[in-house]
């Protein structure tokens, strides 16, 4: 009997040994968020706004209404976060007659890859004024190419469509298109000098020729800029006709195909010795700006040297690169591109484009798809495209390309 009791006692010991409390609370930190209004606004009064907090690790999004430049303490799970602020403020300014008036403007703020840990955390976000575009806008970017019916990649049909979103004739002469040097899918460790607030680092710049009035674009009309201006559907049933293109970028007869009927853009600079191939998965971003005179000194005046520290396990190396930089204040329009799976950071300053858009997710769904700007409204017969400098909102991701056609929705 004693042995039976011993056996049962042993069982009890095992039972007790195995019991423990499983309900650990979720680790959280209190976030104190302070918003700095733009310095150039006089006596701004907060009107309304929203802050959106995105957990980078889980994808969870939290939106909170704002009632001032201070936010009540926000309780967040420990992790990596992005913050986006959109608000309206009233402020004093002067009108055309130099009279002091009370006006309303949109302001924004952005802060990304913020590590929220440690129980409490303070974050200050500098807000900037939202600028309205009154010129050309990029209406479509087709960067991923297509696949042939045999399943092979086809890259010659990449293009941009640029739209006159105003009610007056604009001239495409001197209009430049540039691809960002920085990659939205690779945040650079100890990146320096970080010039993104003032400049956009670029790897390629191509310019539409002309002396100033050679290439008019009517209100509500667009131009197409592509690599090879032919009817690609003849070669690839999954592609389309780009013989309607207005300009080609051409990188030299030894590496590129030239269609003589279509004028070529001027190649200003490029880090590529080969053909300019837009990033196939959409990890780079694009800006357009005006350079009215052919500027041979762009190469030297706008040279940009930067470095970052590459870390791969125990391997650490300082990396040096050369590119060029375009002042943000001359940029007419900008579109940040990335993918859901790979986005890590902004290549463009948030004042140029607050968020980003995408075609597919770096997967096969991207082929034959573009990013396309949404229609805002119509003014008479003229379609006005949506342009709030916020690509996630302004663009249709993974859209069907329609080169030369602006579709009413």
């Amino acid at each position: 009997m004693k042995k039976l009791i011993f056996g049962l006692s042993l069982l009890m010991v095992v039972s007790l040994f195995s019991c423990s409390d499983d309900d650990d609370p979720i680790l959280q930190s209190d976030l104190n968020l302070v918003l700095n209004p733009p310095a150039k606004l006089k006596a701004p009064t907060f009107k309304n706004g929203t802050v959106t907090v995105t957990n980078v690790n889980s994808g969870e999004e939290i939106s909170k209404d704002l009632y001032g430049f201070m936010l009540p303490t926000l309780n967040l799970e420990d992790g990596l976060y992005n913050f986006t602020v959109e608000a309206e403020v009233d402020y004093f300014t002067r009108d055309v007659d130099d009279k002091i008036i009370y006006a309303t403007t949109g302001i924004r703020g952005f802060s990304e890859n913020v590590e929220v840990t440690g129980g409490s955390f303070d974050l200050t976000i500098d807000l900037f004024e939202y600028r309205k575009n009154t010129s050309f806008v990029i209406s479509e970017i087709f960067f991923s190419g297509t696949k042939t019916p045999e399943g092979k990649q086809y890259n010659d049909d990449k293009y941009f469509e640029i739209y006159n979103n105003t009610d007056k004739i604009l001239y495409a002469d001197g209009l430049c298109i540039a691809e960002s040097e920085l990659n939205t899918a690779q945040s650079l460790n100890e990146y320096t000098p970080d010039v993104r607030k003032e400049y956009t680092p670029v790897s390629s710049v191509y310019r539409i020729p002309g002396s100033g009035k050679e290439y008019p674009v009517e209100p509500g009309k667009s131009i197409i800029v592509c690599d090879v201006a032919i009817d690609h559907s003849a070669e690839n049933a999954n592609s389309f006709d780009l013989s309607i293109a207005d300009f080609e970028w051409f990188d030299g007869a030894d590496v590129d195909v030239d269609v003589p009927e279509v004028p070529n853009m001027e190649k200003i600079v490029s880090t590529s010795a080969s053909v300019w191939g837009l990033h196939n998965r959409g990890f780079t971003s694009y800006v357009i700006f005006k350079m009215d005179d052919m500027a041979p000194e762009f190469n030297t005046d706008n040279a940009y040297h930067y470095q970052y520290t590459f870390v791969w396990g125990d391997f650490v190396k300082v990396m040096d690169f050369d590119a060029w930089k375009v002042p943000n204040n001359i940029i007419i329009d900008a579109v940040e591109c990335s993918t859901i799976s790979d986005y890590e950071w902004k290549a463009l300053d948030p004042s140029l484009d607050l968020t980003w858009t995408h075609a597919g997710d770096g997967d096969d769904a991207r082929y034959g798809k573009c990013v396309k700007r949404k229609v805002s409204h119509k003014e008479g017969n003229r379609i006005v495209l949506l342009d709030t400098n916020n690509s996630e909102f302004d663009f249709i991701p993974t859209a069907d390309p329609t080169p030369g056609i602006i579709e009413e929705e």
Binding site: V14, S18, S58, G59, E77
Partner: protein, 524 residues
């Protein structure tokens, strides 16, 4: 230990250390086993009475109980063709059709001072229409599955070896058990996951007679599991999203990525655990029996980054199992009544990093609980020319899982079932042959279910994974099964048999499922 046993155990140890994956090894092992144990042909009776044995599975967890598990020596070698096909609802991650060719050889030998059990098996299988899963051993690793939405057909091979040596010393028995399993699963089209599994379990057990009527047992086990997993794509230009799932369709945004022909993903699943158990059984054929076991394990999912790795998730699991029953033996009847209960809890943690791979936080987010309990009774009536078996089981089970989100409603799934099982069998002994016939009816009724989905679920996981699985889990169904085995004694030294098992499942509001198992075998 005689020479053949020594060779047998040396060979098992060799298998474990070298991870030998050769069918040749199985054949050699089989020959050694067969030559060591060939004599009484009791495999037919063991097969007929297996429910009588399985009812006390908690006892047999202790390898030192081997001598009480089987009362006669036997050897069974078989080659089987198995297939399962779901025409309607099914578990999305494991596919709707499974086919396999299985080779299985096992042998038990009773000796005066020791007992020996050996088993070797090989399986070549494939699974069709798997989605949201690229790993092997789904149930071992869930919810931390690396998933794609394209899916496809998986091809696999599985090898397993098991050996138990049990030594009797006066009123005590000591035993060592070693199990090793190795498998490889892969797909032939993009995305191409490939998993290689190595799974080792070692147990030490003992029993001691505490009086003239009862003995107690104790065992301790160690479990070491590893799955090397990779997903690649070969087609130029392809890009396929893979999700690192965290439970209920929610994925880790930082680790989830796109696999291209120039870059795949590599992972390691590591699981280590231990188990402890106590048992009480009657020395004779009548008396109470009881078992209690506790198992604990920790699983880690490691993503390979360069020459190192990052921990993506970990999963702590605890399991308690308890049985209490009484067995009776009359002149030609054995009756067992059994109550059982088990409880399993799992808690999973998410590891969050910044883009420089610095760990920011480890947060316990996932929890799952499984509970079951019920009663089984079984009656075996033994005769000279025929035996009969009657079994009834009623079981309640509850299964719930939840993912914690700090600022919104937690996604959650709960399902409660009641299951009723009726089983009957008849064994007929002829002059040179024997026939087993069994019929089983199993009905499952869902008494409660609830699902809360989350907008955090990615890639249409709610529509194509969470909801279809939930519909399958909460469905009521009725399964009817038959199992026929015919043994023919061709010579005095061995016999042959054929077996056909067929199961048909009627699922409410869905199409049916079926499975069959056709085997030919050799008894020594």
């Amino acid at each position: 230990m005689d020479l053949s046993l020594r060779v047998f155990f040396n060979f098992i140890v060799y298998m474990l250390t070298q991870k030998l994956k050769s069918i040749l090894g199985i054949v050699i092992l089989l020959n050694l086993t067969a030559s060591a144990f060939a004599q009484d042909r009791n495999a037919n009776a063991v097969d007929f009475e297996k429910e009588l044995i399985q009812i006390q599975s908690g006892i047999w967890d202790n390898p030192a109980m081997l001598g009480h598990q089987y009362n006669k020596s036997f050897t069974d070698v078989s080659l089987a063709w198995k297939q399962r096909k779901a025409n309607g609802l099914y578990r999305i991650e494991t596919g709707n059709k499974t086919s396999s060719i299985d080779f299985d050889a096992y042998s038990f030998k009773r000796r005066e001072k020791n007992f020996v059990f050996g088993r070797a098996s090989y399986s070549k299988n494939n699974m069709d229409n798997i989605k949201w899963n690229t790993v092997s051993d789904y149930s071992e690793l869930a919810p931390y599955i690396v998933a794609d939405t394209i899916g496809g057909k998986t091809y696999g091979e599985n090898y397993s070896f098991e050996g138990i040596y049990s030594l009797i010393q006066k009123k005590s028995t000591y035993a060592l058990q070693a199990k090793y399993r190795s498998s490889e699963d892969y797909r032939k089209l993009d995305p191409r996951p490939k998993s290689t599994v190595s799974d080792l379990e070692i147990k030490l057990g003992g029993t001691r007679e505490i009086n003239s009527k009862y003995m107690i047992g104790l065992y301790a086990g160690y479990h070491d599991y590893q799955q090397d997993h990779e997903v690649d794509a070969l087609r130029p230009g392809t890009g396929i999203k893979v999700f690192y799932l965290r439970g209920l369709g929610i994925s880790d945004e930082n680790f989830s990525t796109v696999v291209t022909n120039s870059g795949g993903v590599g992972n390691i699943y590591e699981k280590k655990g231990y188990s402890l158990g106590t048992q009480l059984i009657p020395i004779g054929q009548t008396g109470w029996y009881q078992s209690f076991s506790y198992k604990k394990s920790k699983l880690e999912l490691l993503k390979i980054v360069g020459t190192g790795y990052d921990i993506v998730n970990d999963l702590d699991a605890k399991e308690f199992q308890f049985t209490l029953g009484k067995q009776y033996q009359f002149t030609n009847k054995i009756f067992k009544i059994n109550s059982f209960a088990s409880y399993q809890s799992k808690t999973g943690s998410d590891y969050n990093y910044n883009y420089n791979r610095q760990l920011l936080s480890v947060i316990e987010k996932y929890s799952a609980k499984y509970l079951d309990g019920g009663f089984t009774s079984i009656l075996l009536v033994r005769g000279i020319k025929h035996s009969s078996l009657y079994q009834m089981e009623i079981k309640y089970s509850s299964d719930e899982s939840e993912y914690k989100i700090a600022n919104s409603k937690n996604p959650k799934q709960e399902v409660e079932h009641v299951t009723l099982r009726l089983n009957t069998g008849r064994n007929l002994q002829f002059s040179k042959s024997s026939l087993n016939i069994k019929l089983e009816a199993l009905a499952q009724y869902c008494i409660n279910s609830d699902l809360t989905t989350s907008s955090l679920a990615k890639g249409k996981a709610n529509e194509s994974l969470i909801v279809p699985n939930y519909e399958y889990l909460k469905s009521d169904w009725l399964s009817l099964a038959s199992n026929i085995r015919y043994d023919f004694d061709t010579k005095n030294t061995y016999g042959i048999y054929t077996k056909l098992a067929y199961q048909y499942m009627i699922i409410e509001n869905s199409k049916s499922q079926y499975s069959f198992n056709f085997a030919i075998g050799l008894t020594l």
